[in-house]
Point group: C2
Chain length 196, copies 2
């Protein structure tokens, strides 16, 4: 089996192994030795694909960040009232988080010890900031409750969404995944209480 | 200064030092040596107060758990409609989390490698379960949106609340702290959107 893997390794499969090991051991706690063992290929074979573990980290968090930023260019995120746009972005963020779960998990756990980690944190803050701007626009259009502090609401919204990486387990049922995104959006924008 | 600390050490001050070190290094990564250095007292002085680091962990997470469970016996949590009670518990949970921030942070980070950690996780799940029951009662009384999945809503609610330990920084202003609890409760139960 090791031989078969050695023959068929691609940068893509190597990346998925690396992300799993990074999430298990932490990025700082992962050595090339760990990656080599987990992938079942030699360190020199890994160096054939990438310059080192930081390149694997950059590729992995880029996949998460590209998925998240792409949402902001989708029609639902750029047309219509800001409150509808931000609700759309919330729902899609949950969907991307689920679709790219190990990659977003890694993104949310980087701690800023290397240049790549700091870059990833900066890009992540930029995404949060874009969503905060949408919330601000929704407030300016009079569609949000007037007693809401936008900065606080943004943090709580992402606190709720990002908590998914801690407890969500991949579910094969597409309807269940759709329901999760709907529930997050409903809870955040309409609340749990039945309209009075 | 070390002398002064040596003279005045109490189990309470030792606990607060231990919790800080546990949160910084992780419980598993903390040795009695680390605690001794951080407290500025000898290991034998620490053993004068406690049997070991697991006793410090038990005391620390007990403080967080006692604070949380006490909420459930308060008048606001036992009288009135379930939806009002669960909203009250949500607000008070945020207040306890802020008042006991390092202790609750530690509670949320234990991983289950020791008997004390597993006990703490079990008690924490029990608290979550009690809140889920309250949400279920509110749904049964017809006060929650009918499309809400209680299990999912409980997880998202705690995801939002527990995210506070990651980004909240203690604020001396009581009004600001009150506002945080209000905002969490409003967001969860009434949503961000202005009533239509």
């Amino acid at each position: 089996m090791t031989t078969a893997r050695r023959d068929t390794y691609t940068p893509e499969t190597l990346l998925s192994v690396a992300v799993r090991v990074f999430n298990e051991r932490g990025y700082d706690g992962t050595s090339m030795e760990h990656l080599s063992k987990a992938a079942g290929i030699s360190k020199s074979s890994i160096y054939h694909h990438v310059a080192g573990k930081e390149e694997l980290l950059r590729r992995a968090v880029s996949r998460a960040l590209d998925g998240l930023f792409a949402i902001l260019d989708e029609p639902g995120a750029v047309r219509g009232r800001a409150v509808e746009r931000v609700e759309y972005v919330t729902r899609r963020t949950v969907e991307v988080l689920i679709a790219e779960l190990p990659y977003v998990t890694l993104l949310l756990r980087v701690r800023g010890n290397t240049a790549t980690e700091r870059w990833a944190m900066e890009r992540r803050r930029e995404f949060d900031h874009r969503v905060a701007e949408l919330l601000g626009a929704a407030a300016a259009e009079g569609d949000l409750r007037s007693d809401v502090d936008i900065r606080l609401a943004t943090r709580l919204l992402f606190g709720m969404i990002n908590s998914l990486v801690e407890w969500y387990r991949p579910h094969p049922d597409q309807a269940e995944r759709d329901q999760l995104a709907e529930t997050v959006a409903h809870l955040a924008f309409d609340g749990l209480r039945k309209a009075r």
